[in-house]
């Protein structure tokens, strides 16, 4: 029996090596390197005592597929004809699900209990390359295609020199040491330096507040009594830093802002963006809803996710978050933890145990075809796109949660920090075992239980790290890798535990780890005692403060009454979810953290949650100078339409969409792509809640950052309207139109802006950026009031800048409105594509001279000036009329107009089946260019059966313009003033759209020549 073994699996001769082939293709395509043939092998290093026969049985029966693999034991050798190699291992402590699975299999074949929480098996990949490439080229392939230096250990070299192996040995280092950090007598500069050196991300004023708290006589007396040192411990400063981080505390959204409009000279003071424009606006909406008998707004802003009532039995829970900074440095890990972390929010709302219904995601990237020089530490946009896409695939698919829709926005300003928005909808019963499910109640004496994964050094400082701008020195520990299978087990457990009444409440461990989750829950009871030595670790060597703030994934903090401990512990054992009792709640007003009985931290809860000094910020608005370009009118716009359909921001995302499971659970009624072709893009997803009723929810996303270059108010208003009209397009109805109609809307706002705090040297245009944010918020308030649509939760991400080598890449101010609305009967949903020849085609709403910021102008390299504006009152009238037409079921198809205007929308409506259309644009009114490509808001292309035309026009009155009819011949023809100005076969239009840059870059590269037979 020896303790360390290596198992190598290679494909049998003749078996197709897809992995190897993809390395060859990607190296040639993205790096211009010729690798020759590449052969892949799976490696497992087993650190567990096994006899030779045991090792052989394990390798051949559990790991190898008898049809596909040859097995080699305890040898690491190359193969004939391969000159070089790349070995991809993981760094110490990095999640290794494959190793964990192998360990499970080993326990089964040995029929021995194996501690599955200690890593005994380490999985790796070995690639053999035919060509004798120099080490620098091998490193490029390794680092740019196969692994990420921050999480992978990469070995490269010549096979002839011997293949170097690497197996991580986590652990070692310091243990239960708590250090004291003296703040007494530090100068301002020293305080700032201390904050920066420790990634506290606290400014001078905040550091002073911390110093003053510790220096206060009452604090000193309390500390002496509790046997704590006079100066703060490392853990205490870390807790304050996490709790006060921009990420957790939203200090800038709570700041006092002095706003000045440089044009009008108007000055005003905004007393907290959050309070003024979000919380108060929603309170006003709620007042109007309740006055009309619509009392479905159950929980807003005060929990992990917002909750609205579906019906007497159940709640809909909705949360959208961002995970930008982690995705910039490790796109796969950042995105998968984004999805899984966001899933935990609805899962742990109220008591916890909601059933996840769907995911949605919106992504903003730099141009994936960028071919310039990258900054130090900056990843290529293509790599970020591919990594994030894969993270969403694994995060959603492996959790069994359908990804029902989303969007991808490209703009070079996202090349430093991408934006990764993850949204999750869930359904929760109104009651669990007789208790209101949405309430979080905690009493002194309740136990604190950590459930799910273990704690390692991964993700330390995530909350504070995301609260500062990103530079080339990003800490490796801020990277986390998600384990969807670990979370799936915890999720299954939580569902049952809640339904059995074993949970008092729960929360997730996200940013700030236990420090945040326990710290927040302790606010309910009034205190907590945590015994850190009980927290199960992935490996030894963590200091107490690291244990407390680590953001290791897949963890929940549960609140359990002492009398229910035995039952919940047994359920955890049965479902193989680790539960650990790490302390209890108190009501003495202190967060008290200990390690083996020794004090580690003891902080006044009031100071911790309310002690952060308020920021005072300055904002200055000046309308950007802009002018309309002179673009000569053309007589034929067919080629222009083709170009638009193939442009980066309009082209098909099918290659991305199809790699997400959008229909697991069997409830998705309107999917991202529909129609007989499966290629008709839809405006909003529609998902039914269960198999017993036809009630469901429509889901949409509004995001149009490029309009912000002209006016941030109009950009925000337009984004809000875009999300509303997408839901109207699929057959949704505005809320509160009739008393007690119960049609809920639940909206999350997510602001992602560049650093907007003015600094004369580091951020000279900070005031302008902040003014944009103020205007975005003003538009949000106006929109919620106009439509009577409430916000239920949201998030702001304030430092989306990437800095390296003296260059700063800042995102454009961006806001995403993620909307959900109840559909009373999903069978009444409307899809975007034409349904039948001879149906009459209408334009609903009005077109204005609004090409500013349009895709049409972008095609000509112009921005323009006339940004589309929303007329909320007119829009609302139209949406109500469309709802009336839908009540009579006379709209056959409906597609909202957005990027590319009417021309692109018309083309897209032909993609489902191949029907064409004959369109006549009105000769009066706007010029042709504006009619075709203006992106005016609140418009739709809709079709109506000939027999319903009279009824339809009598409902819509002047708001519908008859454009023409659907044809069976597959030609899209547009005439204007007697001339044909656009004519193309719909197959050609669809080809231009599907062969756009996204599918080209991420599509199936080449048909592989496998031996197929046609037997049936």
């Amino acid at each position: 029996m020896t303790d360390t073994h290596t198992i190598q699996l290679t494909l049998k001769p003749g078996q197709h090596d897809g992995d190897g082939q993809r390395v060859t293709e990607a190296a040639a395509r993205h790096l211009g390197l010729a690798t020759g043939r590449v052969r892949s092998a799976a490696l497992y290093t087993v650190r567990y005592p096994l006899s030779e026969p045991q090792l052989h049985d394990f390798a051949t029966r559990c790991l190898a597929d008898p049809v596909l693999h040859d097995v080699r034991l305890n040898e690491l050798t190359g193969a004939e004809g391969y000159a070089t190699y790349i070995l991809v291992a993981r760094r110490p402590g990095v999640t290794d699900d494959e190793g964990t699975s192998a360990q499970n299999a080993l326990a089964d074949i040995l029929n021995e209990p194996l501690d599955v929480h200690t890593q005994h098996i380490f999985s790796k990949k070995l690639y053999l390359l035919e060509h004798d490439l120099p080490e620098t080229d091998l490193r490029r392939i390794a680092e740019e295609l196969l692994g990420n230096k921050l999480i992978n250990w990469l070995e490269v070299g010549r096979v002839a020199d011997g293949i170097r192996d690497y197996t991580p040995r986590p652990g070692g280092g310091a243990e239960a040491i708590t250090e004291v950090v003296s703040l007494t007598g530090l100068s301002d500069a020293e305080l700032v330096q201390l904050s920066k050196a420790n990634i506290y991300a606290l400014n001078l004023e905040e550091m002073r507040a911390v110093r003053d708290y510790f220096a206060a006589p009452e604090t000193q007396a309390e500390r002496q009594a509790a046997n704590l040192p006079a100066d703060p411990t490392d853990c205490e400063l870390e807790i304050i830093a996490q709790t006060w981080s921009e990420h957790c505390k939203h200090k800038e959204f709570s700041a006092l802002i002095n706003y000045k409009d440089l044009e009008t000279g108007e000055e005003k003071q905004v007393d907290s963006l959050f309070k003024t424009y979000i919380k108060d606006a929603t309170a006003e909406v709620d007042r109007q809803l309740r006055a009309n008998g619509n009392d479905w707004l159950v929980k807003v802003f005060s929990d992990n996710a917002g909750a609205v009532r579906i019906n007497a039995d159940s709640l809909f829970v909705w949360k959208v978050e961002t995970h930008n900074s982690p995705s910039a440095i490790d796109p796969y890990g950042g995105a998968i933890t984004g999805i899984l972390g966001n899933n935990r929010d609805p899962l742990a709302t109220g008591i916890g145990g909601a059933r996840l219904l769907f995911n949605t995601n919106v992504l903003c990237f730099g141009n994936p075809e960028f071919d310039g020089q990258l900054l130090t530490g900056q990843l290529h946009p293509r790599r970020i796109l591919e990594g994030v896409r894969k993270g969403i695939e694994d995060g959603g698919n492996k959790s069994g949660v359908p990804t029902v829709n989303g969007a991808i926005v490209f703009d070079d300003r996202y090349a430093g920090k991408p934006l990764v928005y993850c949204g999750t909808g869930a359904v929760m019963p109104m009651q669990f075992a007789g208790k209101d499910s949405w309430e979080k109640n905690i009493d002194a004496g309740d136990r604190i239980i950590m459930a799910g994964g273990r704690v390692g050094k991964d993700g330390i400082h995530g909350a504070t790290f995301s609260s500062i701008e990103l530079d080339e020195t990003a800490p490796a520990t801020a990277v986390q890798i998600g384990s969807p299978i670990t979370q799936k087990l915890a999720m299954d457990f939580l569902l049952l535990a809640a339904r059995r009444g074993l949970l008092k409440c729960s929360t997730d461990n996200g940013a700030g780890g236990l420090s945040s989750s326990v710290g927040e829950l302790a606010g309910i009871s009034g205190g907590a005692v945590v015994e850190l030595e009980k927290v199960p670790l992935k490996y030894p060597g963590l200091r107490p403060w690291e244990i407390f703030v680590s953001e290791s994934q897949e963890r929940f903090t549960l609140v359990v009454e002492p009398g229910k401990m035995a039952e919940i512990t047994a359920l955890g054992q049965e479902m193989e979810v680790e539960l650990t009792d790490i302390g209890h709640f108190t009501s003495d007003g202190f967060l008290d953290v200990r390690f083996d009985g020794a004090p580690v931290a003891r902080l006044n809860m009031h100071f911790l949650h309310e002690g952060v000094p308020r920021k005072i910020l300055a904002a200055e608005w000046a309308k950007p100078a802009a002018a309309e370009p002179e673009i000569p009118a053309a007589t034929d716009y067919t080629e222009t339409l083709m170009q638009l359909l193939g442009s980066l921001n309009i082209c098909s995302r099918e290659s991305v969409i199809r790699q997400y499971d959008h229909e697991v659970k069997g409830r998705t009624i309107v999917k991202p792509l529909m129609g007989a072709t499966g290629q008709a893009p839809q405006d909003a997803a529609v998902v039914r809640f269960n198999f017993e009723s036809w009630e469901g929810v429509a889901v949409s996303n509004g995001i149009i950052p490029r309009y912000g270059d002209l006016d941030a108010y109009d950009m925000s208003a337009g984004s809000f309207d875009e999300a509303v009209r997408q839901i109207i397009a699929v057959g949704g109805k505005l809320p509160n139109l009739t008393p007690g109609d119960g049609i809920f809307w639940s909206v999350n706002d997510n602001f992602c802006v560049p650093d907007s705090v003015y600094d004369a040297t580091s951020n000279p245009d900070g005031k302008q950026k902040l003014a944009k944010l103020v205007r975005m918020c003003e538009a949000l308030r106006d929109a919620t009031a106009a439509y009577c649509i409430p916000l239920t939760s949201g998030k702001d991400s304030m430092k989306n800048d990437f800095k390296a080598g003296g260059v700063k890449i800042s995102v454009p101010p961006t806001v995403l409105y993620s909307m959900t609305a109840k559909m009373e009967d999903v069978r009444r949903a409307i899809t975007s594509d034409f349904k039948q020849a001879d149906d009459v085609v209408y334009l609903l709403g009005e077109t204005h001279d609004e090409l500013g910021g349009s895709e049409f102008y972008a095609l000509h390299g112009q921005l323009g000036a006339n940004v589309p504006k929303v007329d909320f009152a007119r829009a609302k009238e139209l949406y109500i009329l469309i709802g009336e037409a839908n009540d009579q079921q006379i709209i056959q198809s409906c597609h909202d107009l957005s990027d590319g205007g009417l021309a692109v929308a018309l083309a897209e409506t032909t993609f489902g089946y191949g029907y064409g259309a004959e369109i006549d644009l009105p000769a009066a009114g706007l010029p042709l260019m504006q009619q075709l490509f203006s992106e005016s808001h609140s418009r739709f292309v809709a079709t109506v059966a000939p027999e319903d035309v009279v009824a339809f026009e009598s409902i819509l009155e002047g708001r519908a313009t008859r454009l023409g009819r659907v044809t069976a011949n597959g030609e899209l023809t547009v005439r204007y003033a007697g001339q044909t100005v656009l004519a193309a076969h719909t197959a050609a239009l669809r080809a231009a759209w599907t062969n756009g840059p996204v599918n080209k870059l991420l599509g199936v590269a080449s048909q592989e020549s496998l031996n197929h037979s046609n037997s049936l």
Partner: protein, 311 residues
Amino acid sequence: MAQDAAQGAHKVQSEAQTGAAHASGTVRALILTGFGINCEEEFAAAYRLAGAEATIVHLNQVLHGQVSIHDFDILNFPGGFSFGDDLGSGVVLANKLRYRQTSTDGRTLLDDIRQFIAAGKFVLGICNGFQVLVKLGLLPNLGGNVVPEVTLTHNASGRYEDRWVTLRVNPASRTPFLTGIDRLEVPVRHGEGRLVIPDAATRAAIEAAGLNCLSYIDANGAGTSEYPLNPNGADLNCAGLTDPTGQVFGLMPHPEAFLSAYNHPDWARRRRLNPDASEEGAGLQIFKNIVAHIAQKNTSTAPAGQLANQH
């Protein structure tokens, strides 16, 4: 830990009523879950809509002896990512069924499943569940000794995909699951669905017995290897297999995701064309078939419970 899907998505879950008396003729479907399986709810809904009683149980309840598969008529392995599929789809779960001893006499769950099949009962695996049955050797099981004879591995495209395909039923297949079905539209949602048959003899034996019961077809109804009509490049263009008895059936696509007509991507146009068409999804027929078959068998022979107890 059992979850009764009939209670609906938002109702309190109830315990499995193992051993409880049941009205004669009630067909009982056992649906396994846990460890990353994630299609159990729609699987249960399918059986319920087909008139059977569906019971969802965590695999550990079966492994630990709290639930006996012999109290049921159909054993079901739903789709998902069991144990994350990290070692190859279905591998770790198959391994657990084959090796994990469930009692002191060294018995495994696979021993129980073999007994279950010998008693004339049925096993269905979809997607990840199909992968489990193949890795276990329950499919195609030409030799009858339950060793892996074929495999399912990475799609030729190298990627996971969700897309709708059209299948044709092999007329030579005699499995009751597919009675009366000629063609079927269903979604595939997998990354490892390419059937690999290692040699010509195995291929010939599968074809001769008609075990390749479902194949991917083109617009003309012919079996096709062309992507994306054939989404994974499977040998024999094969989407599903049965064992020689027809009692064990597995397929990569998801009929349980097509229980309602409104699941189809082209439902809106089709309903315009044919407003009075059934609101039922075509995937439901497979479940109705097997439930009807068992119900008929149960009324014409001894109750299933007694059969199982003879072993």
